[in-house]
Amino acid sequence: MAEVLNMQNIFKSFYMGEEELEVLHDVNLTVNSGEFLSILGPSGSGKSTMMNIIGCLDVPTSGKYLLSGNDINELDEIELGFIRNKEIGFVFQSFQLLPRLSALQNVELPLIYAGLSSSDRKQRAAKILDRVGLSDKTRNLPNQLSGGQQQRVAIARALVTEPTILLADEPTGALDQKTGAQVMELFEELNHDGRTIIMITHDTDIARHAQRVVKILDGNLTEQGV
C-alpha cells in the first residue's frame, strides 16, 4: 500500500518566555493509504500539536515530515494553504461551521479556495451531503441542525475536496453517545470505501473503532496493538 504520511524524528518545542517546553519528542510515524489510525492520548500529551503538524497548521521544530511526498518543512505559508486544501480534510470537535452559511454553502467553502466554479461546487457539495445522509438539509443553517447532523455537515466539508487524509480531532467529543456512535459508523464506512482516516482522541472506546491505535504520552509516540 502507498505511503501517504511519513514522519521521521519529529521534535516540537514551544517557548514560554525563557523556558523551553518540549511537546513532541522524536516522533516517528508512517501511515499508508486506506488506513484508519487513532492517536490516543490524554490532554496535555501533545496530541493537539500532533494534529496541528499532521494538518500542516504548524511545522515541527526539527525532523522530516512528508505528506503525499511533499516535504512540509520546505513550503511557505501560501503553499501550505494549498496543501491543506488538497491533502487534508479537517473534522473538529466543535464542528466549526460558519453560522451564517447553509449546510451546502459550508460544504462549498473549501472548494472556493480550490478555485472551482460555482456550479461545480454546488454539484459536488450536494453529492457529498447526500453521501452523509443529509440531502434534505442542504438549505438549513447550522443552528437548525442537531449536533450529529452538524458534525456530518463538517465531515462532508472535509470530504468534498477528496483529501488524501481525513483528519478528525475528537469528532465525537461534543456529541452524545448515540450520535457519537453514528458518526463513528460513518467513519468506518468511509474507511471501508478506501478513505485514509487519522483520528485524534482521548477516549479509548472511540479509538477502538480504528484498525490501528498509537498512543501518545508526554510527547512520546508508541505503537499499540489493538
Binding site: 494538518g55 505559508e77 494553504g81 491543506r84 479537517f90 466543535s94 466549526q96 467553502l109 479556495y113 466539508r157
Partner: protein, 390 residues
C-alpha cells in the same frame, strides 16, 4: 475568486447593517461635503463669470485720466489705436448729464453717452427697436438719439417714440431707436440713458475729450500683446506721463476671479477631505473589531485552504466596499445638497465627471489605505491560535 470575495464582503456588511452604516457615515459626510462644496462654488463661479463675460470679455477698456497738457483721448488716438493688430473695433464713450424735454415733460440729469457704430455692431442685442448709429450719423454729426427703456416709459408711454423729436441740452434730436431694457445685476445698465453719436456729443455736450474707449479684440488669447501695443500708441500720445490712463482687461479680471474661486474650492475640499480621513479611521476601527470577532472564522478558512493573500484580499475588499458604498451615498447626498443650495441661491447646478470620479476615487483610496493594515493583520493570524480562540 474576486467575485467570491465580493460576495463574502457583502454578506458581512449586510449582516451588521447598523454597524456598517455608522462606519460608512464618516465617508458619507466627507464625500457629501466635498461634492456639495465644490459643486456650489463651481456653480457660483460659473454664473458670476458668465455675468461678467456678458459685460464683455472680448474687450479691453482704456480710461484716460489725462495730463494737464492732454486731458483725454481724441480722435487721433482712436484712429491710431484702430491700426493696432487683433482689433475688431474701437468704441469710444463720452459721458455727460443733461436734461431732456419731450412734449412739455422734463427729465433732469439724464446720462447721455456718445457712442459710435462699433458699439452697436459688437452687440446686436443692445437695440430693441429702430436702427443703430451709423457712419453717416458720425460723419455729419447728426442729431439723433437712441433712448433707454425707462425714458421710453416715462416720456413716450403708449406712443411709438421712433421719429419723435426731443430736446436735449437745448437742441433737437430725432429718436431713431430704443435700447433693450436690461434687468437685475448689470454694471452697464442703459435703462436711463440716451445714446447719441459721439461726434455729436463732442460738439454739443461741451465735452472736449473722450473719457473712455472700448477696444474689441479679435482673439482674446492675445489680449496681453494687444494691450502692450495699445500702450505703445498711448505712451507717446501722453508724453510718457505716469497715470495718464489705465487699460482694464475684462478677461484678466475673469481669469483672476476664477483662479481665486478655484483656490477657494480647493481649500474647502481640503477641509472636507479631513473628514474623509476621519471616516477612514472609522473603517479601520470597524475592520479591526470585525477581525477580532471573526478570528475563529479566519482560522477555519485558513485550515480549509485559504492562503494569507486570500484572507487579506477579502478584508481589503470589505473595507473598499464600505468606503465606496459610503462614497456613492455621499455623492447622492452631496448632489442633493448642492442642487438645493444652487436653487436657493439661484446659480447654475452641474456636477462634473471629474468631481464624481474624485469623490469615488478618493473614497476607494481611503478603503484601500485604511483597510490594508487590518487585512494584513487578519492574514497573519496563526490558524492554530485562531481556531483555539473559540
Amino acid at each position: 475568486m474576486l467575485l467570491e470575495s465580493i460576495l463574502m464582503s457583502w454578506e458581512n456588511i449586510v449582516k451588521n447593517k447598523l454597524r456598517s452604516f455608522l462606519t460608512m457615515l464618516g465617508i458619507v459626510i466627507g464625500v457629501a461635503s466635498i461634492i456639495a462644496l465644490i459643486t456650489i462654488v463651481q456653480g457660483a463661479t460659473n454664473s458670476i463669470s458668465n455675468q461678467v463675460s456678458e459685460l464683455g470679455a472680448n474687450k479691453v477698456t482704456v480710461t484716460a485720466m489725462g495730463t494737464p497738457l492732454k486731458q483725454g483721448l481724441n480722435e487721433e488716438d482712436i484712429s491710431n489705436i484702430s491700426k493696432v493688430g487683433n482689433i475688431s473695433g474701437v468704441s469710444p464713450t463720452i459721458s455727460g448729464k443733461t436734461g431732456i424735454v419731450y412734449n412739455g415733460k422734463v427729465i433732469e440729469n439724464v446720462a447721455v453717452q456718445g457712442k459710435n457704430d462699433v458699439y452697436f455692431n459688437m452687440d446686436s442685442s443692445l437695440l430693441k427697436t429702430g436702427r443703430p448709429i451709423n457712419i453717416l450719423d458720425l460723419d455729419s454729426k447728426n442729431q439723433v438719439a437712441i433712448i433707454g427703456n425707462d425714458i421710453v416709459n416715462e416720456l413716450f408711454y403708449g406712443v411709438n417714440p421712433l421719429g419723435k423729436e426731443l430736446m436735449l441740452n437745448g437742441t433737437t434730436y430725432t429718436v431713431i431707436g430704443t435700447l433693450q431694457g436690461s434687468s437685475g445685476f448689470s454694471m452697464g445698465s442703459n435703462n436711463e440713458s440716451v445714446v447719441i453719436p459721439y461726434t455729436t456729443a463732442l460738439r454739443s455736450l461741451g465735452v472736449k475729450n473722450i473719457s473712455s474707449l472700448d477696444v474689441f479684440l479679435e482673439d482674446t488669447t492675445l489680449a496681453d500683446d494687444t494691450v502692450t501695443e495699445i500702450k505703445g500708441v498711448l505712451n507717446p500720445a501722453f508724453n510718457y506721463k505716469d497715470n495718464a490712463y489705465t487699460i482694464f482687461n475684462m478677461g484678466d479680471m475673469i481669469e483672476s476671479f476664477e483662479s481665486m474661486m478655484s483656490m477657494m474650492s480647493l481649500l474647502l475640499a481640503g477641509i472636507a477631505a479631513i473628514s474623509l480621513v476621519v471616516g477612514g479611521i472609522g473603517i479601520m476601527n470597524m475592520m479591526l473589531v470585525s477581525i477580532t470577532e471573526r478570528t475563529t472564522e479566519i482560522g477555519l478558512r485558513k485550515a480549509l485552504g485559504a492562503t494569507p493573500n486570500r484572507i487579506q484580499l477579502q478584508f481589503v475588499i470589505e473595507a473598499i466596499f464600505l468606503s465606496v458604498v459610503g462614497g456613492l451615498i455621499g455623492l447622492v447626498l452631496g448632489g442633493v445638497i448642492a442642487y438645493t443650495a444652487a436653487t436657493l441661491i439661484g446659480t447654475g447646478f452641474s456636477i462634473s465627471i471629474s468631481t464624481i470620479s474624485l469623490a469615488v476615487g478618493f473614497s476607494g483610496l481611503v478603503g484601500i489605505v485604511f483597510g490594508y493594515m487590518p487585512a494584513r493583520k487578519a492574514s497573519r493570524l496563526n490558524p492554530i491560535d485562531a481556531l483555539r480562540s473559540l
